[in-house]
């Protein structure tokens, strides 16, 4: 069984590696926008296939271990959750690509106004991703609950960003194309935060054996 423990450890490291690749994609995509650096954005788009390949590899490894080791209890929860976490991470990677694509388009246009909401959202979101994965590795403390709470901050900033841009669009309809693209970027970040929340919820399930998705107050679970 020591071999199985080694295999689980290796799998955990792969999930973490995927997590750090996704985190970098989010950071670079937002920086490419804020710093108006389209080369950085192209890099994010080019590297997405590495994230996809690792996701497929992790999925295959999970199926292999379920078939060969017939895991029970916490091992079973770990493997099924690893598969789901991986899907969330891969989708975050796709959203980072979407941000990079909008960045390339927006970098072609004059700057509407300095980016304030988006870097703030990116900062919170990246921390949510990092904390949810930390919780996945180190165990379920208060960390996943904090991640779930912080999702509200990202949601609020999405609305704030949207309202500010709508106000500008009303004043000057010529900026609509650029402004709408900026609302997209915020929406992508908001979706990334949702995926991080999913991971946090699944980590709680993995360690506590309780499903807290779709309940009003996760602290009670």
């Amino acid at each position: 069984m020591a071999i199985f423990d080694e295999e689980l450890k290796a799998l955990k490291e792969k999930v973490l590696k995927l997590g750090s690749m996704v985190e970098a994609a989010i950071r670079d995509s937002v920086n490419s926008l804020v710093e108006r650096n389209s080369d950085l954005a192209s890099g994010v788009i080019e590297k997405d296939h590495q994230i996809n390949a690792l996701e497929v590899g992790i999925d295959e490894e999970c199926v292999r271990l379920i078939a060969l080791r017939q895991p029970m209890a916490r091992d079973l929860r770990f493997l099924t959750i690893a598969m789901k976490i991986t899907t969330d991470l891969e989708q975050m990677g796709d959203l980072a690509v979407n941000i990079a694509e909008r960045a390339i388009e927006l970098n072609e246009e004059p700057l509407l106004k300095p980016y304030k909401n988006i870097p703030k959202m990116a900062e919170i979101t990246q921390k949510m991703v990092r904390d949810s994965l930390d919780a996945f590795v180190r165990g379920c403390s208060t960390l996943p609950y904090e991640v779930i709470k912080r999702d509200d901050e990202v949601d609020d900033l999405t609305v704030k960003n949207f309202n500010e841009l709508v106000a500008l669009m009303i004043q000057d309809p010529k900026i609509v194309t650029v402004a709408v693209k900026r609302t997209y970027v915020a929406k992508y970040l908001e979706r990334i935060a949702d995926h991080a929340t999913n991971i946090a919820e699944m980590v709680i399930y993995m360690y506590k054996g309780k499903i807290i998705r779709h309940v009003e107050s996760p602290e009670e679970a």
Binding site: M1, F4, Q70, M72, A73, R74, L76, G209
Partner: protein
């Protein structure tokens, strides 16, 4: 009066071999028409506990018990218990198929004959019915008078199940019933258990955790004579509450 859904109620029940306490103050309820699996490492007392449910341990002279085993509300360890009658109502199937060295027909008809049934047509009906219930009839209908020992391992085990069923038991106890069988015969027996559950209550001791997970409604985990955890099978295997159970079922024991 509402009928008690627990056919067996085991209360503060201990079993000793001389001075050795093999089963320690176990409390366990067995629900009627369900399959209850008892799992645990070798020597944990699971077979001893199983055998106590129809007093098979009486055959071991040094063994004695403390506490109660209620079968339909009546303590089977009372002095006036008719043990033969008890074993008719609570049958047992063992690890190694052990047909009598006689024909398929006689293996199944033997019990009813002992009960005094002599009419050929009635015995024929009982034999056919018991073999059908054990899903063996189609395979042996043309060789009813051949030796039971000429059958394959899986068939012999189903013959032993037929032999028990001919006694119209209310409970069947299985002690590692498939550990001597190949995977296909094992699957046949497992399917059969689920079918039999409609008419009898089943308690099964197994070393094979996947088997317990596949067939049972409830699982009891025993260790060093103690009942460590008992619960619904799907909960126990996905999210056990006790650390020892967790270690045992994930193979990280000791």
């Amino acid at each position: 009066m509402v009928e008690n859904k627990h056919i067996f109620e085991i209360k503060d029940f201990s079993i000793y071999y001389g001075n050795f306490m093999a089963v320690k103050k176990v409390n366990l309820n067995i629900e009627a028409h369900k399959i209850t699996a008892i799992i645990g490492p070798s020597g944990c007392g699971k077979s001893t506990l199983l055998r106590s449910l129809n007093r098979m341990n009486d055959l071991i002279t040094s063994s004695w018990v403390d506490g109660q085993v209620l079968f339909k509300g009546i303590d089977i360890y009372q002095k006036d218990t008719d043990v033969i009658e008890l074993r008719k109502r609570v049958g047992m199937v063992f690890q190694k198929p052990n047909p009598f060295p006689s024909s398929v027909y006689e293996n199944v008809a033997y019990g009813p004959q002992l009960r005094g049934i002599k009419k050929k047509s009635q015995l024929d009906e009982i034999v056919e019915n018991a073999l059908m219930r054990a899903d063996l009839w189609k395979e042996v209908r043309d060789k009813l008078h051949e030796s039971g020992l000429s059958l394959s391992g899986g068939q012999m085990q189903r013959l032993c199940i037929s032999r028990s069923l001919a006694q119209e038991p209310e409970v069947l106890l299985f002690d590692e019933p498939t550990s001597a069988l190949d995977p296909i015969s094992t699957a046949n027996i497992e399917n059969l258990l689920q079918e039999l559950q409609k008419t009898v209550t089943i308690v099964i001791v197994t070393h094979n955790m996947q088997q317990a997970a596949r067939v049972s409604d409830y699982t009891a985990f025993m260790y060093l004579g103690e009942m460590v955890e008992f619960g619904e099978t799907d909960k126990l295997f996905v999210n056990p509450q006790n650390k020892l159970t967790e270690e045992y079922i994930t193979g990280r024991f000791g």
